[in-house]
Symmetry: C2
Subunit: 298 residues, 2 copies
């Protein structure tokens, strides 16, 4: 069985196509890696690259990408709507097939060490790779952003894991870590009242006492005039899609509002959908590894 | 992309382990084939073998299996509860990956011709491979069974497609054909009243005017004292699982009865479950080929 890891590096460039393509080429040109998707946001001035490969191929591609990004991206001149602290801002590794989270943690440590040594970029280990509880959350690590990072890393609790208590003068610092697959799941309501979406978001969010591994906010989809509960599911095996949707349906009904549809943004693992099918179809003793034909092909 | 076909040959032996293993060995020993499952029913005196492979590997395995079966299985001495007409009774070919039904039809014709020539077994093409409408349905071809087949094949409308208007004296005749994946889907009701299951089965069955590509019967699961609607879904892309389940739920409610669970027997394609997830999760613009990560690994 071949081990396969997914990686979704974010680079701090969303406007200059030459720079973006030169970075994406580092994935394209690494044997054993398959580029799945990449997309750029000009307002955020940021690009997201999605690829998969063997642990060895992901390690090579990660180091090559960091070297290319530090060469081409200068954060002293970077403007954009999205918080950022490095030329490559974050590099998550997600177990896809025949790989454990622990193996992704090991990979992230090898990558972090090499990026510090070979690209001269200090590295924070985050999420499941974090070396302390206060360093798990990316937003907390990134707080202060590139501009504040040179000072922040001098504090002992914010010293990078690799590369020393410093930043690269133009490239900043990078977060590298293992995490479970994240699913972006949005639920659209049959109302233009964004307050209802916000109330429901607060009910389901972990930080407000809702479901574990659920981040959510309410917003208005202007083009459709539809209120949306926008959700990040950070571990669908702990809180599955159907449980969130059923609660949102129930809470929306309290306002006389139906769910008109949902959106799964980007990629998600087969298992997340199989879990929903098993729940709604009420399948007894379901064994996806054996009963789903395609699992014998993987 | 590798072409992969599933085949589910049924042999008329469910008791003699040596014979069964010798037949299954023909799959095991064919390079390019993966044995997924095999199971025997002593009452039916019949075994079902499930495997997958490239079109070329399936062709080789099919011919080898027919030769072994005609060597070891003597239908003049066969007794069992299941209708049968051949030592290998039926050989369906199902498109799994990067293969069309038309390619499975072509494969079935090559296999049929070779089985007639190399195993001396006359062959009927059935289902999507049938050469006339009245020869699509396996039950109609098999009517009269082994004992009546020598006479039946003398009628022009029942002359085998390959091997002449005759049967093999001990091996009978074989049906070979292409068909979509079949899903065995049972729905268990919160009642021991089998009449309710029978009434619902009659509502959903195609032959009684119900859903296209749905075969169903009502029965009592004696070990659990539960009435069951037992269903064969012969084309889930025409009639999906969720549509059948929702109608059964609705009809059962008319008797004040709930669905307590369902069973998917054996293997089913990922897409059948993704369709259910898409429906129940109300996903807009779902694109499984791109959005389900595993589809990039296949």
């Amino acid at each position: 069985m071949a081990k396969i890891i997914e990686s979704i590096p974010n680079i701090s460039e969303g406007r200059n196509q030459e720079v973006i393509e030169a970075c994406v080429d580092q994935i394209r040109n690494t044997p054993g890696c398959t580029l799945l998707d990449y997309s750029s946001d000009e307002t955020h001035n940021r690009s997201v690259i999605t690829y998969m490969g063997s642990p060895e191929a992901c390690e090579e591609a990660s180091v090559k990408l960091a070297k290319k990004a530090v060469e081409l991206i200068d954060l002293t001149k970077h403007e954009g709507g999205h918080p950022r602290m490095g030329c490559v801002d974050v590099m998550p590794f997600v177990p896809l097939k025949d790989v454990t989270v622990e193996e992704c943690v090991e990979l992230s440590k090898r990558v972090g060490e090499r990026i510090a040594a070979e690209a001269d970029l200090p590295v924070f280990l985050y999420e499941d790779s974090a070396t302390a509880k206060h360093r798990q959350n990316l937003a907390k690590i990134r707080k202060g952003q590139f501009e504040g990072m040179a000072e922040k890393v001098k504090e002992e609790k914010w010293c990078p894991d690799f590369g020393g208590a410093r930043i690269h003068p133009t490239g900043g610092v990078v977060a590298v870590g293992a995490r479970p697959p994240l699913i972006a799941f949005n639920i659209n309501l049959a109302t233009d009242n964004v307050e209802i979406a916000k109330k429901i978001a607060n009910i389901i969010r972990e930080v407000k006492g809702g479901f574990k591994c659920v981040k959510a906010m309410g917003l208005l989809l202007e083009e459709r005039n539809v209120a949306q509960v926008s959700i990040n599911m950070t571990n669908y095996s702990i809180t599955p899609l159907h449980r969130v949707l059923e609660l949102v349906r129930r809470e929306a009904a309290r306002y006389g509002v139906n769910v008109i549809g949902t959106e799964v943004i980007g990629l998600a693992p087969m298992r997340a959908f199989l879990d929903a099918a098993e729940y709604y179809l009420q399948i007894e003793d379901f064994d996806p590894d054996n009963q789903v034909i395609e699992n014998h092909l993987l």
